[in-house]
C-alpha cells in the first residue's frame, strides 16, 4: 500500500526548482520530475517490502525532513574537520549537501581526470554523465530513497578517470550535516574507464545536535580491468538518520573493493549492490556498531552475471544496549555465471539481552558449476578470553571492552589505505573509551 502523496515534498520541489543543480538541463529536469512523481507514488519504503522487513523507516516518513538549499558552510569548522580529513587526498567537503569550495582541495588533478562537484558538472553536463546517470541504480534499486534522492539532490561528486590512468591519491568526500530537521541529498557518479584505478573515501558526519536525514547515493561504473576501492565511514551523531546506497557495475575483469564502517547515527541503512561481469571481482567488508538505541542495517547484494567471477563478503556487527542490527546479504548467480566463487560471512557480537540482530544471508544460484558458501555466527564474548585477560591483571570491564574492540578492530586493521585506517581506528576507539586502549600501542 502506498502511504499516499507527499504534498509537502511537491511543494518543496516547486520552491527549490531553479536552484537545484542541472536546472538548465532538460534531461536532468526530466529525471528529477520523473523521480518526484515516483516518490509521490511510493513514499519511503515500508516493512511490507521484503527488502525492508527488518528496518522500519516510518519515523523518517513522519518527521517530514525538509529538503533545502543550505545557507552555507559556516557550521563546518576546519579544525574539527581535520580529524576526518585524509592527509594526501583530493577532498570535496559538503555541508548540508552543499559544496564548500573553501573547505575542499581539488588542486592539481591530472589532465583528463574529472574530480568535480556535481553542481558544477551539471552546469554543463558532459555526455558521459548523461549516459550513465541513474543507469546503475536503475538496474537494482527502485525504492523511495532512490527517487527522493534523484528528485532532490543538491550536490555530490563526479569522478571520471580516463582509460589506464591510476589516480595517485584517493578522492575523499566529506559530508557534514548541521541543520536540524533537514533532508540532505548527495548524488555521486564514478566512472572508471578501462584499466583505470581509483580510491574513493566517503566520510559522513554530523554535528552533535543535528537530527537530520542524510541520503547519499553513489553510482559507480567500473569498466574492463578497472579497479575502484571504496571506503565509507559513517560517524554521525546519535540523532541522525541516514540512507546510503552504493551501486556498482563492474565490467569484465574489473575489481571493486569496499569497506563499510557504520559507527554512528540513530537509524541507518546502507545498501551496497554490485553487478559483476565475467571474471569480475569484489570484496565487501563491513563493520556496524550499535549502541544505545541505534538501528543499523547493512544490505548487500552481489549479482554474478558473468562466468569466473569472485566475490568475498565479510561483515561484522557489534550490538550493545538496546541497539538493533540487520545484515541482509544476497548473492545471485545468473545461469551464465559458471565457475563463480562466492563467499559471504557475517559474525555478530551481542553484548546485551536487549540488543538484537537479524541476519539473513541468501544464495540464489541458477548455475550448476559454482562454489558458493555463506556463514553466519551470533555470539557473546568468550568467558575463557575474559578470564585470560583478568589473569594478566586486567579488570573485567576493561577486559570486556578490550575484547569487543578487538572483534571490531580486526576488520579495521585489515584496511589497506593507511590514512583511512588511521581515521577509522580513532573513530572506533572513541566508541570504546573503557577499553583503555591507546592508539600508539595498536
Amino acid at each position: 500500500m502506498s502511504p499516499g502523496p507527499n504534498p509537502d515534498y511537491c511543494e518543496h520541489f516547486n520552491a527549490l526548482g531553479e536552484q537545484l543543480p542541472g536546472a538548465g538541463s532538460t534531461w536532468v529536469n526530466n529525471a528529477r520530475r520523473m523521480a518526484l512523481a515516483q516518490f509521490d507514488q511510493q513514499g519511503f519504503p515500508s516493512p511490507r517490502d521484503e527488502d525492508w522487513r527488518y528496518t522500519n523507516v516510518s519515523a523518517i516518513e513522519k518527521k517530514r525532513f525538509k529538503p533545502l538549499i543550505p545557507p552555507g558552510d559556516a557550521a563546518a569548522d576546519a579544525g574539527w574537520l581535520k580529524r576526518y580529513r585524509l592527509n594526501d587526498a583530493w577532498s570535496l567537503v559538503f555541508v548540508d549537501g552543499h559544496f564548500s569550495a573553501r573547505l575542499s582541495d581539488v588542486d592539481d588533478v591530472p589532465e583528463g581526470v574529472t574530480v568535480q562537484a556535481m553542481s558544477a558538472a551539471l552546469a554543463n553536463p558532459p555526455a558521459a554523465v548523461e549516459a550513465e546517470f541513474g543507469r546503475v541504480v536503475g538496474q537494482t534499486s527502485h525504492h523511495g530513497f532512490v527517487s527522493f534522492n534523484t528528485a532532490f539532490f543538491t550536490d555530490g561528486v563526479l569522478l571520471h578517470v580516463p582509460a589506464d590512468t591510476v589516480l595517485s591519491r584517493p578522492v575523499q568526500i566529506i559530508h557534514i550535516a548541521s541543520e536540524p530537521e533537514a533532508a540532505t541529498n548527495l548524488r555521486n557518479l564514478v566512472i572508471l574507464e578501462s584499466g583505470a584505478q581509483a580510491a574513493l573515501v566517503e566520510t559522513h558526519l554530523s554535528m552533535e545536535s543535528a537530527g537530520s536525514l542524510a541520503v547519499s547515493i553513489t553510482e559507480a561504473v567500473i569498466r574492463e580491468r578497472a579497479q575502484l576501492d571504496g571506503y565509507l565511514l559513517h560517524g554521525a551523531s546519535e540523532r541522525a538518520f541516514r540512507f546510503g546506497g552504493f551501486y556498482v557495475d563492474v565490467g569484465t575483469a574489473g575489481h571493486f573493493n569496499h569497506t563499510n564502517l557504520s559507527l554512528g547515527g540513530l537509524l541507518v541503512r546502507n545498501e551496497i549492490h554490485v553487478d559483476l561481469a565475467e571474471s569480475g571481482q569484489c570484496a565487501l567488508d563491513g563493520l556496524f556498531v550499535g549502541q544505545g538505541r541505534r538501528h543499523v542495517d547493512s544490505h548487500t547484494r552481489v549479482r554474478h552475471r558473468g562466468a569466473h567471477g569472485t566475490s568475498r563478503e565479510n561483515y561484522r556487527g557489534v550490538l550493545s544496549d538496546r541497539s538493533r542490527g540487520v545484515f541482509q546479504g544476497r548473492i545471485v548467480v545468473e545461469p551464465q555465471a559458471q565457475k563463480t566463487d562466492a563467499q559471504m560471512n557475517n559474525r555478530n557480537l551481542l553484548l546485551s539481552d536487549e540488543a538484537e540482530i537479524d541476519t539473513k544471508p541468501q544464495l540464489e544460484i541458477h548455475a550448476d558449476d559454482v562454489k558458493c558458501a555463506h556463514g553466519v555466527a551470533v555470539g557473546q564474548l568468550d568467558p575463557e578470553s575474559i578470564f585470560y585477560l583478568e589473569s594478566r591483571g586486567v579488570d573485567p570491564v576493561s577486559a570486556r571492552n578490550m575484547l569487543t574492540f578487538a572483534f571490531a578492530n580486526t576488520l579495521v586493521d585489515g584496511i589497506s589505505l593507511a590514512g583511512f585506517r588511521d581515521i577509522a581506528q580513532d573513530a572506533l576507539l572513541a566508541l570504546f573509551p573503557e577499553a583503555g586502549i591507546r592508539k600508539d600501542w595498536l
Binding site: D382, Y388, E390, S391, R392, V394, P396, L403, A406
Partner: protein, 253 residues
C-alpha cells in the same frame, strides 16, 4: 610462606574434583604436580588463578598471608600470581605488545607506581623476546593469533618474564611441544628462578622435569596428593607409570 593450601575441596557443578589438597610452597621452591588425566591437576591451577565455574566447598588457600580465595582473578595477578595456560587464548585485534603493556601497567598501578616509560618498556620486551628465540614481529601480531603451539607457550613465558610474578603456575606447559621448544621454554623458566620466586609445575609427563629440576614432586590422584618426594619420584613415576600409585592406594584402602 608463599602459598599454604589446607584441606582444599572444590567441585565443578555437582562433581567433586579436589578432595582435600594440602600443599605448602616456600619462596624459591619449585614444586611439580604430577598425576594421571582427571586427577584434578588443571582444576587446582585454575582454582588458584580464580577462574569461575569452580566452587570451593571447604579448605583454605593463603597466599603471602592473604586469603587468596577472596581475591578477584585480576587482583591475584596484580599481587604476583601468574598462570601460564595450557591452552592460551587467541585474541585477534589486540596486539601482543599491547596486552603485555596493559598487564604490566595494571600491576604497576596496583603497586602505586606510574605507567611504564614507552622506551624502557620496548627495551625490556625486546631483550626478553630475544632470549625466548621469538621474532620481534611476533609482538605486533594479535595475541596468540595464528601462533603455533610452541609459540603460544613461549608467549606465556614471555608474559611471565615481563610481569615478574612471585608465584608462577605452569599448567601443562610442556604439552604439545617438541623437544627444541621444550628446551626454550625450560630455559625461559630457569632464567626466572630466584631465591624469592616460587613455581608450581603441573604436568602429566616427567620430561619437562629433565630440564626444570623440581625441589618437590607431588602425585595427585582422585583429587588428593597421595605421594610426595624429591625429583627422583618423578623418575620412578616415569618408569612405573601411574598404575603403581593407584595400586598402592588400593592396598592402603
Amino acid at each position: 610462606m608463599m602459598l599454604d593450601i589446607e584441606n582444599l575441596h572444590a567441585r565443578v557443578e555437582d562433581k567433586p574434583i579436589l578432595q582435600g589438597i594440602d600443599l605448602q610452597v616456600s619462596p624459591g621452591e619449585v614444586h611439580a604436580i604430577m598425576g594421571p588425566n582427571g586427577s584434578g591437576k588443571s582444576t587446582l591451577s585454575h582454582v588458584l588463578a580464580g577462574r569461575s565455574g569452580y566452587e570451593v566447598t571447604s579448605g583454605t588457600v593463603t597466599y603471602r598471608g592473604q586469603n587468596l580465595l577472596d581475591m578477584a582473578p585480576e587482583e591475584r595477578a596484580r599481587e604476583g600470581v601468574f598462570l601460564a595456560f595450557q591452552y592460551p587464548v587467541e585474541i585477534p585485534g589486540v596486539s601482543n605488545i599491547y596486552l603485555l603493556k596493559a598487564a604490566l601497567n595494571a600491576q604497576r598501578k596496583h603497586r602505586g607506581e606510574s605507567e611504564v616509560d614507552a622506551m624502557d618498556f620496548l627495551r625490556l620486551v625486546k631483550e626478553k623476546i630475544r632470549s625466548l628465540d621469538l621474532d620481534e614481529q611476533f609482538l605486533y601480531r594479535g595475541v596468540n593469533e595464528g601462533f603455533s603451539g610452541g609459540e603460544k607457550k613461549r608467549n606465556e613465558i614471555l608474559q611471565m618474564a615481563i610481569l615478574e610474578p612471585r608465584l608462577c603456575i605452569l599448567d601443562e606447559t610442556d604439552s604439545g611441544l617438541d623437544i627444541d621448544a621444550l628446551k626454550v621454554v625450560a630455559d625461559g623458566v630457569n632464567a626466572l628462578r630466584t631465591a624469592e620466586r616460587s613455581f608450581i609445575l603441573v604436568t602429566h609427563y616427567q620430561r619437562l622435569l629433565d630440564y626444570i629440576k623440581p625441589d618437590f614432586v607431588h602425585v595427585l590422584a582422585q583429587g588428593r596428593i597421595v605421594k610426595s618426594g624429591d625429583a627422583s619420584l618423578a623418575l620412578e613415576l616415569e618408569k612405573k607409570g601411574y598404575g603403581w600409585i593407584e595400586q598402592e592406594m588400593a592396598a592402603v584402602a
